[in-house]
Amino acid sequence: MSIEDRISTVKEEIKQLKNEINLKKSNLSESSLRTLASDIPPLETSELVVRVHLTGHLGKVYGVHWAEDSNHIVSASQDGKVIVWDAQAQCKIHAIRLRSNWVMDCAFSPSMNLVACGGLDNLCTIYDLSQEEEGRINIYRELSSHTGYVSCCRFLDDQRIVTSSGDMSCILWDIESGSKITEFADHNGDVMSLDLKPGDTNTFASGACDATSKLWDLRSGTCEATFEGHQSDINSVQFFPDGNAFGTGSDDATCRLFDIRAGRELMEYTNDNILCGISSVAFSISGRLMFAGYDNFSVHVWDVLKGNDTAILEEHSNRVSCLGVSKDGMALVTGSWDKELKIWA
């Protein structure tokens, strides 16, 4: 047999084995999340309304991130600007002019001293907000090593940051020296998103265009677990508040919940009317709700336990590209290609 034939035979075998494993797993499970939650009364929430419109960006908003104080927000747009907003005062605190317009994500450090952004320039650029010179904030560090775009970045602290990239890898960086500490390479497609595990400084999750999400050990650089189930690119990954599960949003029009200890998918969030991809997901502070931003301009609020849509928020006039829930759980911010940010409560 030629090599190609051998490879396809083995691939078939693997597929069959995977199906057998999945069958066994579902036979062993006593119930599904949906069934178990059927007795729980439906959620009674007041309607989420836009409280603040943050306008000023001149191009599509691609990234948004709350600061730990639940009041400051950093946003990045392809007009080449990263803006730091004061949500309560509804004004702009800083405006950073980027070297490259093509930015894909931004993040605040927990201390709020640093802001990072990354994009098509393949770099993760760090700015120090405390070093403002004549109204301008200069580049503090430029982290260079990725051979593809930087899709997402999250600070561990003021000294370390993790990035995900279109080169199919993630990197843990030492900011001061500007060098790589660890490289995480196991995905077979562009890595689109990452999230740090709450309460555990040694684990993070990533989602990629190979339709899988992975859990990584920061110290050893190894992939601890891989979760399959999605049928297309995963664009967003976010941990459940207690860190034992995580939610994902994908181009296959579904959001899913994966449990780490059970090692499997618990629920799929979708319905027949949804035909477009999800760009971003975020959990409410209790974890009962999951917010998902869609390409069809809307935001759906999913009941995580019961699996149904509790609300559809339609205020943006273009794709919702990013969103986030504040640390105190009081507000949701959404960013869109319509150049605006909206804060909901």
Partner: protein, 355 residues
Amino acid sequence: MGKKQSKEKRKEYKRQTKKSKRIQKQFEKQKQKDDNEVKILLLGTGDSGKSTIVKQMQILYKGGFEKDEIEIYKNVIRTNIKSYIKTLIKACETLNIQIDQKNKVLAHDFLETVRKNSPEITEELRENLKTLWDDKALKEAYVRRDEFQLPDAAKFFLDQIDTIADKNFTPKEKDILFCRIPTVGVKEIHFEVNEHVWRLIDVGGQRSERRKWIHQFENVNMLIFIVAASEYNQILYEEQNTNRMQESLQVFKKYVNNEYFKKKDLVILLNKIDLFKEKIEKYPITKCFPEYSGKNNFEDTSKFIKKQYLSLVKRKKKRKINSHFTCSTNTDMTKKVIESVLNSVIKSDINRYFM
């Protein structure tokens, strides 16, 4: 709250709002500038000449290259001539070309000991490079260079080993145009011509999934797709079974019909036309287009290739499509072509872009 504290708070609030308003004003100024820019996206497969066009813009409209840039190119050129010789020696092996007894040991040692990544060239190394480049076997491999991967500029530099190895070597503009440095990420250049600001964007360095970032360029005003006309008989670096021009046609088809680009004005540049003219005398284009039954002269073959690209454009109405022959390493020719492109934009009512 005490009177003093609330006064402090009011002061702070006033300062914040003032700053926020200042930032907004800056944004509005910036918006005016951005809106007056014509954004052009440069597309094309690897090695088609996109970066060379960007370099030409640097020469024509921005006064040339900076000192530190020139230094980088110097080192790249020196490193490259060593790797060209290595590639030729390895090609002799693959193509079964016997190297003369007198140079066999030299070639073998060269492969083993010379560090490809350093720009150092000693006296001894300079002599060895010249000897090897003069070798009959390597010359034969060079003639068959379409069967392996050798950059087009190899001969240009290998014919100047003495100049390059000299410690006072400073690359001239022509050397920089020929020197290949793979683009990383995104390369942009903006310049002013005819009272308008133009921004050329070369995103050729991204090897990732196009669908994940192509929407970033939804607002470009025009696309320029560059084709290396001379690669009709060459194979891809990434995949040894794929013909380069076939790959270029596939990539072209995907880009021009993409949901974000299908209404945009398009310019097709058939580049490396000088190399194409040379090649077409020896190698028929049936290598890439077996269905071609015309004559093997420049006129007919170049027309045929142009037609192949144009036929892939799905929406021809409501968008302007132009094509030109270019030689991106020739500054004068490039100037004429680019200015013709820019003028056609201005003539066709540039205001259409700013609605």
